[in-house]
């Protein structure tokens, strides 16, 4: 297989989840968070997963990104079965393939904006790291703020830095967890525009978890998560 195409010439899903289930043991017994969730996302698609608080959206995102393993079922990223990998191998796969945008930004407080963007490049020992980091900051309109620390930036600016960090190493998939959840109305639109523009420019596959229906509606596909089960929305 190559470039998202199977050997028989059919198009291969970039993300493929089959029969995913996740449960935890709580004080009152077993609690099912996800139940028999299946999902396929093709390269270049933008997919939104919506749902009420506690519906399991973030858990699903974690499983799709390989941050956690399902209790049952299987996830494949670019054809690689995640459950067959140890955490170490999954980390390498994430480094090559995946970018993240979090609701609460997750910038390292002791690093400047530029140093935060540098992180994925440093982890991969990429050459020209500084130049690329500055370009990424330029792309989110924060070139002049590279030397600033997170506490010196507004919420919207912090999320821009996080987006620059997510795209800087050219991942094929971007996972975004409530990317506008911590922002005001004005910033929210700006961040959403930026996210979708960069996604288009980098031809990245986007999986977005949100309860903001307006944001979800900008995706090509929307799925609703209800009681741990995925329900497809017709568009």
């Amino acid at each position: 297989m190559d470039n998202g195409r199977m050997d028989d010439g059919t198009r291969m899903a970039l993300i493929s989840a089959t029969g995913l289930g996740k449960h935890v043991e709580g004080p009152t017994g077993r609690l099912d968070i996800l139940d028999d969730v299946s999902l396929e996302v093709n390269a270049g698609e933008t997919v939104a997963i919506t749902g009420a608080s506690g519906s399991g959206k973030t858990t699903l995102l974690g499983l799709l990104a390989g941050l956690d393993l399902p209790s049952r079922g299987s996830v494949r990223l670019e054809g690689h079965a995640l459950e067959a990998m140890d955490e170490e191998t999954r980390a390498q796969l994430r480094l090559k393939l995946v970018g993240f945008v979090f609701q609460s930004f997750h910038l390292l407080p002791a690093l400047t904006a530029e140093e935060n963007v540098l992180l994925p490049l440093e982890l991969d020992a990429t050459s020209n790291a500084t130049t690329r980091a500055r370009e990424a900051l330029d792309a989110v309109g924060l070139r002049a703020r590279g030397a600033h620390y997170p506490y010196q930036l507004s919420g919207g600016e912090q999320q821009r830095v996080a987006i620059a960090r997510a795209f800087v190493h050219g991942p094929r998939i971007l996972f975004a967890d409530e990317p506008t959840g911590n922002l005001d109305h004005h910033s929210r639109d700006g961040i959403a525009d930026l996210l979708f523009r960069l996604n288009r420019e980098h031809r990245t596959t986007l999986v977005l978890v949100t309860h903001d229906l307006a944001l979800a509606s900008r995706c090509t596909r929307v799925h609703d998560l209800v009681d741990g089960r995925l329900v497809a929305h017709a568009r």
């Binding site: 941050l67 955490e87 980390a91 090559k96 609460s104 440093e122 020992a125």
Partner: protein
């Protein structure tokens, strides 16, 4: 009541927080270290004094030229004390064709009250016994040889025939400086009936008492008031001034070591409190936002810390007392029997708890006090709580607490100041080194290996924390190296100062004409290290023209002190174990007489340089100007004098000589012959004193290992606290890096690099600070002249420490490496 209730509820939840546990563990450790050492020291001090008591034969003695009034015995009995009467005098013994001057102790059947009289009887067995029955006498080996007698023979003492019932092997008071060789012990009743103690005899009478410390002290106070004019008190501590000096050193060393362990724990407290304060910031902000007064919020915090602290301090007192008892039981064989029964003092352990709580408050206060200024707005924006202040006077509190406690323990502000300066120097050096390294890393990070770049940048990212951690670890290591490497070297040097061939005999009453003959005779016997000094005996009669016997001097009545006999000597050069601390040593041929005094005399009489002292030696009067003040190390077992004159004027005075020499054991018979050849000389044996001093050094060395163990634990606590401080941040960082795809190896290499650098900085600082501090301690506290830091051991220890820090740091991040990346999405 709501504050304590809320605090207890908080405590139930927060008890598992590592920083709170570290804080409590550090406090517990401080109490145990300080308490155990203080309890042991108090008990050992009692034991040492009891050893001294063994040397005089009782807890207290009254020495008089005539028998004491009956009231002295009656009052002692009324207080529940045991008593014994002894008389000491020289007497010539006759047997066959021989005669020999003996130092006779005439004792009643109760003597000795402390210590042992060991005699060998005719069956060859050694027995611990008391004064002999009437009609019999015990002689030492030299007396038997000198008189050509054996056990069971008869000897004539004071005109009466006595049976030699035993050979003296060990006798209390044998090392008393008035004891003359050879020795005999006879029954007091015999001495009284033969008229040896009658009018005109040269006998000194002693009443010895022994019993519990309280009644002895009461008796001492009573006796001081009722003492006849010709009598004086003989106390173990006075008699054993040298032992006391040795013990003071030992006690100071041990207490200082324990305090260093406690201050080390204080650093752990400070780090934990810093972390705890950071964690509590949100809670305080929330409480303030909900309308709680800052007093309420802070009160809650104070209660939360006070409850476990007080409990830990009490537990520490219990453990310290247990440990001290165990240590005492372990060392039982080394102690005199009376000391074994000494009650366990509990005061020092509670005092230690107080000191440890002072350390806790002093070190935890600065970070916690800052919480008082957390504004309610911080509940919305955390950065609002981080009000930065350039300098916070509160950070002087732990410094003042540390300096104050060192001064309190050692009784010396100078020592405290220098130790604090040494530690502050180490902290400053570490800061400079760490900041330079961080600067270098920032400048050249791009050229480093990508994995290492991640690690070194961890130091630069947390610059403030890196600085704090490296200082804490460096100070910890400094204290550890001081104790682990420098202290044994110091003790070893000290031990070497009492080498096997330290002079163990003194000869007094040596006439100028006899010096060469005596020296030759002793050399023939195999004596080494022969050294003699002139001695003139007189008394102080005036200071600056004031007759001190009749007139108060500078407002003080010193007539009693001045009436004592004074031994004066002189020498061209400053004698060994002497140090001039003010003025200058004698110039050759000064026009007017000059005198040099030991510092003790300066304090006793309130003298100043330039004062003129008048001495009367025989009929000769000499007025000498005070030109130098000396500090004499009395523990060296050299011949030393409080008063020294310039040789040009000293030589004009009537004088004899005192000599010291070393004679290996087993030469008693030869000495007996020597004693007979020079009957006018008095020989003094100080082997017992030397043995006791060596024993103290050995005991201190053993105790130092104990204290070192406490310090090691304290050092580990500092490291644990330092790791805890950054644990949350590390966990978040590791989770983020894992999410972004970092491999475990990369994170591990980064941690290794970070802690390796921290360890290297700390190791280097500790190496230099311990060497410097050790050299200073050796010179000023232990008065060891030729001390060179044990460089090879220090370097090895510093490298090992650095490696251990790196390894422990790496081990401490294991949990961080296992943090699941999903944690990030949940925050």
């Amino acid at each position: 009541m709501i504050v304590p209730r809320l605090a207890l509820r908080t405590l139930r939840r927060e008890w598992r927080l590592p920083e709170l546990r570290t804080l409590v563990a550090a406090l517990l450790l401080s109490v145990i270290a300080l308490g155990a050492v203080a309890t042991l020291a108090a008990r050992v001090q009692r034991a040492v004094l009891m050893s001294a008591a063994e040397l005089i034969g009782g807890d207290l003695g009254i020495d008089a030229a005539s028998p004491l009034p009956r009231s002295f015995v009656e009052h002692a009995k009324a207080l529940g004390l045991r008593t014994s009467r002894v008389a000491g005098f020289p007497s010539v013994a006759f047997a066959n064709d021989h005669s020999q001057l003996l130092t006779v102790t005439a004792a009643d059947a109760a003597w000795p009250l402390r210590g042992k009289l060991v005699v060998q009887t005719r069956d060859g067995e050694s027995h611990i016994t008391h004064g002999p029955p009437a009609g019999s006498v015990y002689l030492d080996h030299r007396a038997l040889v000198a008189l050509g007698l054996e056990l069971g023979d008869r000897v004539q003492v004071g005109g009466t025939n006595l049976v030699i019932a035993g050979l003296i092997e060990q006798q209390p008071g044998a090392s008393d400086l008035i004891a003359l060789a050879p020795r005999a012990v006879m029954a007091l009743a015999d001495a009284e009936s033969t008229g040896l103690l009658g009018t005109g005899s040269r006998a000194r009478h002693q009443l010895l008492v022994a019993g519990a410390a309280g009644p002895v002290a009461a008796y001492r106070a009573w006796a001081r008031v009722h003492l006849p004019t010709d009598a004086h008190l003989v106390t173990p501590d006075e008699v054993q001034q040298r032992l006391a000096v040795a013990f003071d050193r030992a006690g100071t060393f041990l207490r200082l070591s324990a305090l260093l362990a406690a201050l080390l724990a204080g650093i752990a407290v400070a780090l934990s409190a810093q972390r705890y304060a950071r964690r509590k910031t949100d809670e305080i902000a929330l409480l303030r936002a909900l309308g709680a007064s800052s007093r309420f919020a802070f009160g809650n915090l104070a209660w939360t810390l006070a409850v476990p602290s007080v409990l830990a301090a009490l537990a520490g007192v219990g453990i310290a007392l247990g440990l001290a008892s165990a240590a005492f039981a372990y060392a039982n064989g080394l102690l005199p029997p009376a000391a074994r029964q000494a009650p366990l003092p509990i005061g020092p352990a509670f005092a230690a708890a107080g000191i440890a709580l002072a350390v806790l408050v002093g070190f935890a206060l600065p970070p916690l006090a800052r919480l008082k200024s957390v504004p309610p707005i911080a509940v919305f924006r955390r950065s609002a709580a981080q009000t930065t202040r350039g300098f916070d006077a509160l950070y002087l509190v732990p410094v003042l607490v540390a300096v104050g406690l060192i001064a309190l323990e050692t009784g010396s502000w100078k020592l405290a100041g220098v130790l604090a300066a040494c530690l502050a120097g180490a902290a400053a050096f570490t800061s400079i080194l760490t900041l330079s390294l961080i600067w270098l890393i920032r400048r050249h990070a791009a050229r480093l290996n990508p994995a290492l770049r991640l690690g070194t940048s961890a130091l630069t990212r947390r610059r403030g924390l890196s600085l704090l951690q490296s200082c804490a670890i460096a100070l910890g290591l400094t204290a550890l190296l001081l104790l682990a490497v420098v202290a044994p070297a110091l003790l070893d040097n000290w031990r070497r100062e009492l080498p096997r061939d330290t002079p163990n005999w003194f000869v007094i009453n040596l006439q100028s004409a006899q010096r060469a003959d005596v020296r030759n005779a002793l050399q023939r016997l195999g004596a080494t290290r022969f050294n003699d000094m002139p001695v003139a005996v007189g008394k102080l009669v005036s200071i600056d023209g004031v007759d001190v016997e009749t007139t108060p001097f500078r407002g003080r009545d010193i007539s009693r002190d001045a009436s004592q006999q004074v031994r004066l000597s002189w020498s061209d050069s400053l004698p060994p174990a002497n140090r001039v601390i003010a003025g200058h040593w004698f110039t050759a041929q000064p026009r007017e007489a000059e005198v040099s005094l030991d510092i003790a005399w300066i304090h006793r009489f309130g003298l100043h340089l330039g004062d003129t002292l008048g001495f009367l030696i025989g009929n000769q009067r000499i007025d000498a100007r005070l030109t130098s003040i000396r500090e004499v190390d009395w523990s060296r077992f050299n011949v030393n004098f409080f008063v020294m004159l310039d040789p040009a004027h000293g030589e004009t005075l009537p004088h004899t000589w005192i000599a010291s020499f070393y004679l290996p054991p087993g030469h008693a018979q030869a000495l007996a012959t020597f004693s007979r050849d020079f009957p006018s000389l008095s020989l003094i044996d100080v082997d017992q004193l030397l043995d006791r001093a060596r024993q103290i050094v050995a005991q201190v060395t053993a105790a130092a290992r104990w204290v070192l163990a406490f310090s090691l634990i304290a050092g580990a606590l500092v490291l644990a606290a330092a790791l805890t401080m950054s644990a949350a941040e590390r966990r978040h960082e590791a989770a983020l890096l894992r999410t972004l795809g970092a491999r475990r190896g990369q994170l591990r290499a980064a941690a290794l690099c970070e802690f390796g650098l921290l360890g290297a900085i700390a190791g280097l600082t500790a190496l230099l600070a311990a060497a410097g501090g050790g050299a200073w301690l050796a010179r000023t506290v232990f008065r060891i002249r030729e001390f060179s830091p044990p460089w090879p051991s220090l370097v090895i220890a510093a490298v090992v420490c650095a490696v251990v820090v790196a390894a422990l740091g790496l081990a401490g991040t294991r949990k961080v490496l296992r943090t699941p990346p999903l944690l990030l999405l949940r925050r």
